[in-house]
Amino acid sequence: MAETPHPAQRARPLSPHLTVYRWPVTMATSIVHRATGLALSAGTLVLCWWLIAVASGPDAFNEFTSLAVTPLGEVILFGFVWSLAYHLLNGIRHLAWDLGYGFAVPTANLSGIIVIAASIALAAGLFALAYLGHGGYYQ
């Protein structure tokens, strides 16, 4: 009896948590919606940084663009574009739910898969469009 730990100190079974569940699509899309929202918050500040760099003359502009064309800069830009595409498409899914549509489990699973696939396609498309002609299509 002396070896038995106090009930409060024994390792009690925990309720299943993130690491235990096989992630359902709806759970993954929900978590990614929040994560992309946080990423876009940082991206919005970078967008304001770009605007003030454009407004501040050639030195600031060249400093910003020289950082943007590094591999890390391009990864960040693609991450921003994909986050925007995902948050936009999944946001439309959320607005549909708010109006009362698409709550059935098979529908919610299907719309989740569609959003994931479409966000990758939209981001890749926008990124390709942006790089078409190497140097912006306004020149």
């Binding site: 929202g37 919005t44 967008l47 454009v54 502009f61 936009l88 946001g91 926008l126 469009l129 912006g136």
Partner: protein, 126 residues
Amino acid sequence: MSLETPLHKVRGMGSAHSGVTHFWRQRVTAAALVPLSLWFGISVLGLVGAHEAATLAFLSQPLNAILMAAFVMVLLYHMLLGLQVVIDDYVQSDGQKVFLMLLVRGLSIAAAATAIFALLRIAGPL
């Protein structure tokens, strides 16, 4: 039996004391951001790799400047509402909650002021 006074019930503010204000504003800004984000993705991303002159020419067009200002303002407001939910979910101490909300609001206002100033400066005098 409810402990709510009739006036409280009529106002419908609930435990958050602001009713559906936050919920509604988050949805309205989300809906506004659908066309604005599409414009941003298709038009503004075309400036990737553009020279300074082309960038200035694009942003000094009145329609582009107005849409850019609207996009950044609505984006920052939607961001503020979203970050408030994240803070409410994960931060338990009231002191930290107030501090982080003030920080987010301060950053949003600073970013908004910077963006407006930048766009006005790019557009230049008439």
